[in-house]
Subunit: 282 residues, 6 copies
Amino acid sequence: MSNDYNYDYFNITFPAQYVAQVEINRPEKLNAFIEIMWLNLSKIFSRLSTDPNVRAIVLTAAGDRAFTAGLDVKAASQGTLSAPTSGAIDAARKATALRAHILEFQACLTTLEKCSKPIIAILHGISFGLAIDMSLCCDVRIATSDVKFSVKEVDIGLAADVGTLSRLPKAVGNFSWVKEVALSARIFGAEEAIRVGFVSRVIPAGKAAAVEEGLKLAKLIASKSPVAVQGTKELLNYSRDRPVEDGLRYTAVWNSAMLQTKDVADAILSGLEKRVPRFEKL
Amino acid sequence: MSNDYNYDYFNITFPAQYVAQVEINRPEKLNAFIEIMWLNLSKIFSRLSTDPNVRAIVLTAAGDRAFTAGLDVKAASQGTLSAPTSGAIDAARKATALRAHILEFQACLTTLEKCSKPIIAILHGISFGLAIDMSLCCDVRIATSDVKFSVKEVDIGLAADVGTLSRLPKAVGNFSWVKEVALSARIFGAEEAIRVGFVSRVIPAGKAAAVEEGLKLAKLIASKSPVAVQGTKELLNYSRDRPVEDGLRYTAVWNSAMLQTKDVADAILSGLEKRVPRFEKL
Amino acid sequence: MSNDYNYDYFNITFPAQYVAQVEINRPEKLNAFIEIMWLNLSKIFSRLSTDPNVRAIVLTAAGDRAFTAGLDVKAASQGTLSAPTSGAIDAARKATALRAHILEFQACLTTLEKCSKPIIAILHGISFGLAIDMSLCCDVRIATSDVKFSVKEVDIGLAADVGTLSRLPKAVGNFSWVKEVALSARIFGAEEAIRVGFVSRVIPAGKAAAVEEGLKLAKLIASKSPVAVQGTKELLNYSRDRPVEDGLRYTAVWNSAMLQTKDVADAILSGLEKRVPRFEKL
Amino acid sequence: MSNDYNYDYFNITFPAQYVAQVEINRPEKLNAFIEIMWLNLSKIFSRLSTDPNVRAIVLTAAGDRAFTAGLDVKAASQGTLSAPTSGAIDAARKATALRAHILEFQACLTTLEKCSKPIIAILHGISFGLAIDMSLCCDVRIATSDVKFSVKEVDIGLAADVGTLSRLPKAVGNFSWVKEVALSARIFGAEEAIRVGFVSRVIPAGKAAAVEEGLKLAKLIASKSPVAVQGTKELLNYSRDRPVEDGLRYTAVWNSAMLQTKDVADAILSGLEKRVPRFEKL
Amino acid sequence: MSNDYNYDYFNITFPAQYVAQVEINRPEKLNAFIEIMWLNLSKIFSRLSTDPNVRAIVLTAAGDRAFTAGLDVKAASQGTLSAPTSGAIDAARKATALRAHILEFQACLTTLEKCSKPIIAILHGISFGLAIDMSLCCDVRIATSDVKFSVKEVDIGLAADVGTLSRLPKAVGNFSWVKEVALSARIFGAEEAIRVGFVSRVIPAGKAAAVEEGLKLAKLIASKSPVAVQGTKELLNYSRDRPVEDGLRYTAVWNSAMLQTKDVADAILSGLEKRVPRFEKL
Amino acid sequence: MSNDYNYDYFNITFPAQYVAQVEINRPEKLNAFIEIMWLNLSKIFSRLSTDPNVRAIVLTAAGDRAFTAGLDVKAASQGTLSAPTSGAIDAARKATALRAHILEFQACLTTLEKCSKPIIAILHGISFGLAIDMSLCCDVRIATSDVKFSVKEVDIGLAADVGTLSRLPKAVGNFSWVKEVALSARIFGAEEAIRVGFVSRVIPAGKAAAVEEGLKLAKLIASKSPVAVQGTKELLNYSRDRPVEDGLRYTAVWNSAMLQTKDVADAILSGLEKRVPRFEKL
């Protein structure tokens, strides 16, 4: 099956039952992103979202030096971020094109947030700009102790526009810190990231160990009922953005169908009998 | 007065002036909840909400082993969570019944959030599933150091549906951690709970000491103007769910009436004179 | 230029290029606020918001003892918070006047949140009541290690109504702690503040060092493209209050104009050439 | 069965299969409402909401002269609306009691909006104040040609507070007209009501004919699948208050369960075979 | 008193007790707006909002030919709407200035919506562009039968940006029509305006008669309790923009203070005694 | 160019400069929709949305008898709406598949709402079910006088789930009527449709005349600045769903870029010189 998943700049493997691993693979450029990469990223996670053989996903990056250095600025500066050409083009028309471009780029990353299966990001080394945007669309963030984070965008003259500024205030419970790192682009490390709540685990033993930890968590999640797991992801994302009473109402409708699964009885029985339940594909 | 508060599976006492203590009391079953218990819980807090002799409430649980092991799964598996009976009942009609059931269960717990008086939950021992849902409806969460928490629902094949998934993302400032514990059902302890912000205090000296600490806090709150305290609870809950400017506008209308209380002058004068103010019942 | 900024109870200086420092100056009264002060505060930040010579602002307070003790209760108790005069005035009419007063007071503080330039608050000593309200309108909060915070309002018989109850739940990721300090008015220090995420830095070496640190951060921010910095502030504040997808949509429109700046090319080029870019005024 | 529904001031009958008629019955006082009446109204519609023998409801009023003259002002002026007693009671405490009273009154009327079955209001004669509030909680409004409407509340010195001001702007598509009638309390008739969209039908032939028309519509609705009908009411009410995309998302979850009903196949088959389908109780 | 209200391009008079009339006065230019006019408009309505001698306001325009032809395009085309100057100015910096300008212009018009007293607009003759924006901030719209409306902005190459596109969909219940007139800029008359719900009255007898009708309505409103009237305006505007349940909650808090007015008892008593009540200033 | 637009069941033509006409083409089945049709519909409007040669679109249907009879029920009853197969499939898994299907179907129709160019629907003959859903995604609705509308879904046992229930309450200003037609599925005609505001024009002279009228309107819109027209569509749709102040804020950002177009100067100049402006492609 893994043969099917062929996309430039990504390795997709299936290291355990129901677990997929997506590896960003442009290590010679510190995994910096060019346009084809975010288009492929979106295609990969759209497919994984409906692939019944996948229940949890780990997102990693090749090489020792970087999860990603962010946008490939050199490439971008010849495209979207090119210097304005002295008024030759109408500013309103240029804005229309830019807006369409940003919306498309955002939509590619949002594919991860909308993916029905949980995604665990393993962040190591240089994790700048897009690394923050992308990992905020994932569900769980695990870092190595040598990670170097930066909300880098102000350093290239722009406000981050593919997700960090919209998601970071809701992912982290220290708005002063969010402002500080987003306004200054200063680098911060694993210790700070865990303290403020940007990641939920730091693995001191290096990248390989962190990937191992991510896979372990993915296997644990993949062993649960997919009805329960996918519902949990959907309901948490829905509720993050809405009043509690709207969250409760949506949850009640959701579970009015989902409680009609055999998985509940199977899970309870397995629990009582201390054995591992097996759940049908979803 | 305490004689009046007679509800199966709960002990209600009044350990200090203006302070009520509600104790969950089914220790032989690890305080696991059966339906009558959440119905009673709702009745108790509805009454306390309008009882002028109560200004702060502490919620505790009997026995050393558990705050609550959560839903009594055995009982539930014979009721709502029973195995689906091979299509005999129309799935839409079953969904209608389930939705009504979930909404009613949610409403019972929401009674705590809507209770006009602050509630301090003292969490000890096993605090699984419903323990998280319920304590998230309380205002302050204090844990003993031996507490064992788990968002347990995925382990019985369902997405938590009586509040945790709607309230946890707004109570805790580490969305990666929220996802991790909700998707994996893994157990976490007091240290982790305080680090991520799920509880605001950990009491190392055991349950009795934690209850003592909770009562001390309750007494402190009960010594303040009830106009000020109840307004503070209402405005914080309102603002959690809405844009800042809506929070400000609601606050201005609220206080346009509430500042017309004698309590302000009394509180200021008492402060200047270094004596304890006495406030009229509310 | 600094000569122009003359407002009672405030010192405004310009310690570095593009950096303003606003110092609250009523140290003999622990910088307690009387009405003229919040009116002036609003005027100052309205002006700084559009002053092209300013790109980052540090808010400090004179004297060693207090950032501010909060509202000057003695003055207030002769004004808005005066004891109700036995029904002489119609309660609805009094409410109308009070509501107008609260809304105006709130609007003065919100000027800081709406100021287009980032504001760094340096909190030291007694930082009660209004200190919390005001600093929550700032972008970054830095504290000295001797700071003493209190959400003081319940102690004078009222629910905080000029911002704390609306902004604190969104600034800090421990709702249990938010409730605890707002309901009890208990004092908390720097260690607790950094742990729960109320401040993003604690400076152990005293107020002067903390101001120095704040100025250093302000200079760093002021060295970036003002287009990027002001957009970042706006988009973070916008997104805090809205669903992620609304944040993304607003961001795309915002940047459709803002990416048409020369600053992007200048910033990228400077980065490649390892030199400091210079950005046009905004 | 109809014997069971005994409530003072109301007649409840079942004029056709699956159709209930609720008649307000205090004609000697122009059906003016006293407290027991809105409490009973709420109880009646709560029961009808879950009564499987009922699929559509018609709300009418006894006597020729009035649907209702509104609140019984004389009774109210001895209760909630009594003249303020010269400051004897703290204004904040009085506000707390008033707020609780208004919320309870609102909740009684909202029972109609939340009732899972559609309600058709037949409005005739004097239909003042509460008649507007109440009928706005119903789904369909039908008027006789002699109806006299008035948003009466400003005439007794208050802004309407049990629903009209919140629901009228969303029920009618002429905000200028909404403001005009709500600010002036002027009387308007059937012709104006149908023109601006407050009612959907005017029956010239008098009250009996209007009731007949309402029953005819109720029977038509009651002949449809209750799964389809109740879903339609819920989804319209939900969507009225939310962005279109939220409406669509909620709808998709709702129908993910509801499309699993046998009613769809039965309805389609009956349609093809030109016979009347029979649907199971819900 | 009327002497005090001196503002260029406006006549302010007080034709009846508690009633103000604001007349736009630049008839030689078809009352086209230049910047000073919307600044003055805002100042006038800010003052009227808190002037205790005013309870209702009529907005009219001088001359027979036009309420207003809209923005003075000639003046604007030398200012904000001037042709872009071939890239000399950075597009992002120009956008920042334009955004500030639009926000300020919007805020001036919003002053009418926020004015605590109801405003009745009398629309006659040419009522283009700004006439629509401005009248949508008023509470009641009355037209003469010779009125000529146009959402004119697309004809000068821009999407209307000072309110029409935000308010028209909520003021009128025919979204197809809203789109049609906003996208085509076609002229429509009084008959169409009343049919779709843009105005609530058409006065066939000409401008003087329409002004008379407006004053009559203003006097009627001014004869009611100002507590009731101002609350009604506030609660309708609040509810237009929010879910019904938020509207109800805000209303309950609002009236918890406002029902404590003597006006209620006075209004009821006057009603019973068939005499005109007199209400204290607000 | 029109050769490029080849999609089964649709004819796409370009009857005038900048104007496209999309004709639904399955007249032998009353233009009833099968799955390939809504997939194609979405593809067509996605392309038109970014086709610089198109500025306005008219949506019509082939044949004299029907715009569309709605979903092809026969086809659907063998697919999604097939009778439930006696519990063989887990109800939760079936719900997951159904939800995905509904969301995809909804997204296809929403393509029309998101299309950057205005769409004018010409509705004639039988216009049931999907005709309502689809036309509510269009901007302008024009009907022939012989049109027969029905919100048909309850007649096949389901609540409408691809848009009608979410969009109709916001398109029409008579919520009583919306409920009536949606709950009863009764047929209504052109006169009723224009009265309640569902369409903005009725053309008595038959389908050909109505199409002519639609094209005339499309040409008028296509003659305006595309910057102005597309902004107007976007801002009206955005504002329909949000509070007025959010609409204003978004508008200000939008126009901060869009006012920098040459179109404004061109439009103004053309207006003064009474000639037809020509606008660059967008």
